[in-house]
C-alpha cells in the first residue's frame, strides 16, 4: 500500500468511542434566563450565596461579547438552543457501586473504564461524572481518613460551603471571560478536592467526564485546593459519543496551591472531533488556571487529541516567591479539527520559574495554534522562563501556528522562547523501513518520540492511553 493510501486510510479512521447511552434524564427546558439559573440552583439544593454568585455571573455575561481573537472558525452558537441542565434520574443518593444504574456502568465498560476494576487494580479513586451529576464516588473513605475531601462539586457545596465560598472564583473570577462567566452562571457539577496541610494524597485522583444527553452543553466546574505543603495529582480524561450537532463544553478548572503545595493536573482529552468533513464534534472552550503561593508548584500536562475546536490555555499565576509553573502539552489535530491552545505564565513573585513545553501535531486539514503568554511583572525579580514549542506537520493541507507573547517588566527576569516546525523526514522513515519496521509503526514511533518530553510527565495510567491515542490517529500518515 502506498504511503498516500495509508495516510488516507489512517487519517480517516472513525471515532472509536461513538455510542449513545439511553438513560432517563432529568432536564430543564432549553435556553438561558435567570429563571433557568434559579431552577438549576434549586434542583441542586444550593445555598443562597451560590445562587447570587450564579446570577451575578449571568448578568455580567449578558454584557460580554463572545471572543473572536482565537485562530478558530465555527458557526455562531445559539445559546438559547442549549439545554443547560440534565442529570441522570436517580431516586436517592447512592451508597455503593451496586446502586449505580447498570446502563451507566455498561457505558463506562464500553469506554474501557471498568469502574470496579480500575478501583481495585489501579488504586485510583474514580469520581465519574456522567453528564452533569456525579453518580459514583469511590475510595472516599480512604481519603477521608487523611482528611482529604474528594467529592462532586454539588456535594461540596452542601457539605463544605465554607471552603467553596472561600475559594470558588478566587483564581478564575466569575467575570473572567465570556465562557468562564457562562460556566459560572450555569455550571451543573464537577469535582472538588481539598487536601489538608502537609498531606500527600496517596493516589492519583481521577474523574472521567462524559458528555451524553443530546444538545446538553456540559459546564463542569473543578476546584482543587492544596493546603500548605500538600501534594495532589489529579487526572482528567474524556471521551464522548458521536453526535451530529456541535456540543458546547465550557468548563472551568481552578487550582489553588498554598505555600509549599504541589498540584499536578493531567488531562487526556479525546472528545468527538467531528467527522472527516468537520461536521459535528465538540467545542471545547475551557478556562483552566492555577494560583501558586510561596514555594508552591503547579504543573499542567495535557494531551489534546479530540474536539472539533479546542480553545484552552491552562495557566499559572505565580504569585508567591519561588513558586513554579509548568505546562506540558501535546495537541493533535486531524481532519478539520482546530486547536488554539497554550498557556499563560504570570510571574508576580520573586524568583518564580516556569517551563513551557508544547508539541503540536497537525494532520489532514487540521489547524494547530500555540498561543502563550509569559508575563514578568514588576516584582518578579530573578524570575525565569523557558518555552519550547515544536510543531510536526503531516500532509500538505494542515497548518501549524505559533503565537507567543512575551511581556517583561523586570530587567532581572530571563525569558527564552524557541519554536521549530518540521515534518517526519523521509530519512527517518527510510531508516525504520530498512530495519523492517512498518510505516505505521515507524510513524507512531516518531510521533511518540516527538511527544515524549510531554508524555513522560503523565502518570503511568495516562501515559499508556495517551500513547495509544496518538498512535491510533496517526499511524502511517506519511506526508
Amino acid at each position: 500500500m502506498s504511503t498516500a493510501e495509508q495516510l488516507k486510510e489512517l487519517t480517516e479512521q472513525k471515532y472509536r468511542y461513538g455510542f449513545v447511552t439511553d438513560i432517563e434524564e432529568d432536564k430543564v427546558p432549553k435556553g438561558l434566563s435567570e429563571d433557568v439559573i434559579r431552577l438549576i440552583s434549586a434542583k441542586k439544593g444550593e445555598p443562597r450565596f451560590m445562587l447570587e454568585w450564579r446570577l451575578e455571573a449571568y448578568r455580567r455575561w449578558l454584557g460580554m461579547e463572545e471572543p473572536t481573537w482565537a485562530n478558530v472558525h465555527y458557526p455562531k452558537i445559539d445559546y438559547q438552543e442549549i439545554v443547560y441542565y440534565s442529570a441522570p434520574k436517580q431516586k436517592k443518593a447512592l451508597g455503593s457501586m451496586d446502586e449505580v444504574d447498570p446502563e451507566l456502568k455498561r457505558a463506562f465498560a464500553k469506554l474501557g473504564i471498568p469502574l470496579e476494576e480500575q478501583m481495585r487494580l489501579a488504586g485510583v479513586a474514580v469520581d465519574a461524572v456522567f453528564d452533569s451529576v456525579s453518580v459514583a464516588t469511590t475510595y472516599k473513605k480512604k481519603l477521608a481518613d487523611l482528611g482529604i475531601v474528594f467529592c462532586s462539586f454539588s456535594e461540596a457545596v452542601r457539605e463544605h460551603p465554607e471552603l467553596i465560598e472561600k475559594y470558588l472564583g478566587s483564581v478564575v473570577p466569575s467575570t473572567d471571560n465570556y465562557f468562564a462567566a457562562l460556566n459560572s452562571a450555569v455550571f451543573s457539577d464537577g469535582s472538588f478536592v481539598y487536601v489538608p496541610k502537609g498531606v500527600r494524597c496517596p493516589m492519583e485522583l481521577s474523574t472521567y467526564f462524559r458528555i451524553n444527553a443530546k444538545d446538553t452543553g456540559q459546564f463542569e466546574r473543578t476546584l482543587i485546593v492544596a493546603d500548605e505543603g500538600a501534594y495532589v495529582s489529579y487526572l482528567e480524561g474524556c471521551t464522548a459519543p458521536m453526535r451530529d450537532e456541535n456540543q458546547l463544553h465550557a468548563a472551568v478548572v481552578e487550582l489553588v496551591a498554598l505555600d509549599g503545595a504541589h498540584v499536578k493536573y493531567s488531562t487526556v482529552q479525546n472528545w468527538y472531533p467531528g467527522d472527516a468533513e468537520g461536521r459535528g464534534g465538540i467545542y471545547n472552550f475551557v478556562t483552566k488556571r492555577g494560583k501558586a503561593m510561596r514555594k508552591a508548584k503547579i504543573s499542567w500536562t495535557q494531551v489534546e487529541t479530540g474536539s472539533a475546536i479546542t480553545w484552552k490555555y491552562p495557566s499559572c499565576i505565580l504569585q508567591g516567591d519561588e513558586s513554579v509553573g509548568e505546562f506540558y502539552s501535546v495537541a493533535l489535530t486531524n481532519h478539520r479539527q482546530q486547536a488554539d491552545t497554550g498557556t499563560k505564565m504570570i510571574h508576580i513573585g520573586r524568583d518564580t520559574r516556569s517551563t513551557i513545553i508544547s508539541k503540536g501535531i497537525s494532520a489532514g486539514r487540521g489547524q494547530n495554534t500555540y498561543r502563550g503568554l509569559v508575563k514578568m511583572m514588576k516584582g518578579a525579580t530573578g524570575a525565569r522562563n523557558y518555552s519550547q514549542c515544536d510543531s510536526l506537520l503531516i500532509g500538505d493541507r494542515c497548518g501549524a501556528h505559533t503565537f507567543p507573547y512575551i511581556e517583561v517588566r523586570n530587567p532581572t527576569a530571563k525569558v527564552e522562547h524557541e519554536a521549530t516546525t518540521s515534518k517526519i523526514s523521509e530519512d527517518q522513515l527510510f531508516y525504520c523501513r530498512q530495519r523492517g519496521i512498518s510505516d505505521e509503526d515507524a510513524v507512531s514511533m516518531i510521533v511518540n518520540g516527538f511527544a515524549k518530553q510531554v508524555l513522560k510527565e503523565l502518570p503511568m495510567e495516562f501515559a499508556v492511553e495517551a500513547q495509544k491515542l496518538l498512535g491510533m490517529s496517526l499511524e502511517g500518515s506519511v506526508g
Binding site: 500538505d396 497548518g399 501556528h401 503565537f403 530571563k414 525569558v415 522562547h417 524557541e418 515534518k423
Partner: protein, 439 residues
C-alpha cells in the same frame, strides 16, 4: 474623531490637476483612513504601542519650502559627503540644491517622485500604491491620501548601481506640529542591483513623519534597503516598507531605530517568486519614556524561498520596546526555510519589553523556527570585566556594544557604517571609549 484624525483628514486637497487615477487613489485612501481611524491599543497590531499622545495633537501640513529656512541644512551640517547620490527631502519635499547627483546606468531613473508624477506619470502608475495597500492600515492610507513627494528609483533590467543611494528625510518646523508623508518607490528590473539608505532626521520639535516605501524586485534583482532613524526626542516616526520579490531576487531590509518619542517601523514583504531570499533585521534602542516598535509581516507565497529575520532591542530608563514579527507560509509554499529571532536587553528596572514572534504555517515540507529572549546584562561577564580593572560604565558599555555590534555592522556602506557606529556608541555610557577600543 480625535484632534489628530480631524487635522490629518482636513489636510486633504483632493487631486486637482493630477491624473484621474492618482486622484481616485487619493480619494480611496482617504476613505480607508476615515474608516480605519488611528489605531488604538485595542488593535492587535498596536496592542503595546499607544498613540494616545499623538491623537491629541493638531497636525498641520508641512510649510511650503519658500517659507524660509527649513531644518535640512542644519541637520546635514558636518556630515561627510555621500558615497553616491544623495537626495534630500525637507519636510517631505525634494530639495534639489541640497542634493548630490551621481552617474546612473543607462535607462535608470532616480529623482523626486513629485517630478516623476508630473513629467512621467505612466512610469509610476503601474507600481505606486500597488504594494502599499490602504485597507485597514491607517498610516499607509494617510500617506496614500496626502503624499506629495519622495523618491523614485527605476532600474531597468540588468542595471547595477554600486554606490549606495542616500535618501535624507529632514523634518520639523519650529512652533507648529507638522505632519509629512513621504513616499519612496523603487522598481528594480530583472537582475538589477542597488543599495538604498533612508536616513530619517528631525528637529527637536513635535511632528509626525509618516513614510511609506514600496520595493518591487524583479527576477534575480538584488536590493539592499537600509533605514537609519535618528529623529528628535519629540518626533512621532511611523514608517512602513512594502516589498514584493520575484523569483531568485534578494532583499536585505535592515534598520536602526534610535530616535523619536514614538517610533514604529514596519516591514511587510511578500516572497512571490521561487528562490527569493529575504534578510530582514533591525536594532532598536530607547531610553527615557520613549516607545520603539518593530513590526514585520513576511509572507511566503511560493515554494523554495528563504527568510532570515533578526531583531535586537536595547531598552533603558522607562522606555518600551515592542517587537511583533509574523512569518506566514501559505499552502503550497513547500521547501520554505524561515528563521526568526528577537533578543532584548533590559538595562533598567522600569524598561519594558513586549515581544511576539509568530509563525503561521500552512505547508508541511518546511523548516521554520523562531526564538525570543529577554534578559539583562550578564552579571558574570560584568564581574569578569570589573575584576580586570575595567570601570563599571565602560564594562557595561562593552557588553552592550557586543550585543549591538552585529546589527551595526549590517549597515555595510562605509560612510553610513561609520555614522551608525557613532550613533549607537553615543547612546552608551562610555561609548567613546568603546569605539576607541574597537577601532
Amino acid at each position: 474623531m480625535t484632534p489628530a484624525e480631524q487635522s490629518l483628514a482636513a489636510a486633504f486637497r483632493g487631486g486637482a490637476g493630477e491624473p484621474a487615477w492618482l486622484a481616485d487613489a487619493r480619494a480611496g485612501a482617504l476613505a480607508a483612513f476615515r474608516a480605519a481611524g488611528l489605531p488604538t491599543t485595542r488593535h492587535e497590531d498596536w496592542r503595546f504601542t499607544s498613540l494616545a499622545a499623538l491623537s491629541t495633537l493638531s497636525l498641520a501640513p508641512a510649510p511650503a519650502p519658500d517659507d524660509g529656512e527649513g531644518p535640512a541644512r542644519a541637520l546635514l551640517a558636518g556630515r561627510a559627503a555621500p558615497e553616491g547620490a544623495r537626495l534630500v527631502f525637507e519636510n517631505g519635499r525634494f530639495r534639489r540644491e541640497l542634493s548630490t547627483g551621481a552617474p546612473l546606468p543607462a535607462g535608470a531613473v532616480l529623482g523626486s517622485l513629485a517630478d516623476a508624477l508630473r513629467h512621467a506619470p505612466e512610469a509610476v502608475r503601474p507600481h505606486l500604491g500597488r504594494l502599499a495597500r490602504v485597507d485597514g492600515l491607517a498610516f499607509t492610507a494617510l500617506n496614500g491620501a496626502l503624499l506629495e513627494d519622495g523618491a523614485f528609483l527605476l532600474l531597468p533590467p540588468g542595471a547595477r548601481v554600486e554606490a549606495p543611494i542616500e535618501l535624507v528625510f529632514a523634518t520639523g518646523a519650529a512652533g507648529r506640529a507638522v505632519a509629512v508623508h513621504p513616499r519612496v518607490l523603487v522598481v528594480a528590473g530583472e537582475g538589477a542591483r542597488a543599495t538604498l539608505a533612508e536616513v530619517h532626521l528631525g528637529t527637536g520639535d513635535t511632528y509626525l513623519a509618516n513614510s511609506v516605501t514600496e520595493l518591487v524586485l524583479g527576477e534575480g534583482a538584488e536590493v539592499e534597503h537600509l533605514r537609519l532613524q535618528d529623529e528628535g526626542p519629540r518626533a512621532f516616526h511611523v514608517s512602513a516598507v512594502f516589498a514584493e520579490q520575484a523569483a531568485r531576487s534578494r532583499l536585505t531590509a535592515h534598520g536602526l531605530a534610535l530616535g523619536g518619542q514614538l517610533a514604529r517601523s514596519e516591514v511587510r514583504a511578500r516572497l512571490a517568486g521561487e528562490g527569493a531570499e529575504l534578510a530582514v533585521s533591525g536594532l532598536y534602542m530607547a531610553d527615557g519614556a520613549r516607545t520603539t516598535d518593530a513590526f514585520t509581516w513576511v509572507e511566503h507565497a511560493v515554494p523554495r524561498c528563504t527568510t532570515t529575520e533578526t531583531y535586537k532591542g536595547i531598552l533603558d530608563g522607562r522606555a518600551r520596546g515592542v517587537f511583533a514579527g509574523r512569518i506566514v507560509v501559505q499552502p503550497g509554499a513547500q521547501k520554505t526555510s524561515a528563521r526568526q529571532m528577537n533578543s532584548n536587553l533590559l538595562l533598567s528596572d522600569d524598561a519594558i519589553v513586549d515581544t511576539k514572534p509568530q509563525l503561521e504555517i500552512f505547508a508541511d515540507d518546511v523548516k521554520c523556527g523562531h526564538g525570543g529572549t529577554v534578559g539583562q546584562l550578564d552579571e558574570a561577564a560584568l564581574f569578569y570585566l570589573r575584576s580586570r580593572g575595567v570601570e563599571e560604565a565602560e564594562a557595561r558599555s562593552l557588553l552592550i556594544w557586543a550585543f549591538a555590534a552585529e546589527m551595526v555592522d549590517l549597515v555595510r556602506p562605509a560612510g553610513l557604517h561609520a555614522r551608525a557606529r557613532e550613533l549607537v556608541a553615543a547612546r552608551l555610557p562610555a561609548g567613546r571609549k568603546v569605539l576607541e577600543a574597537a577601532a
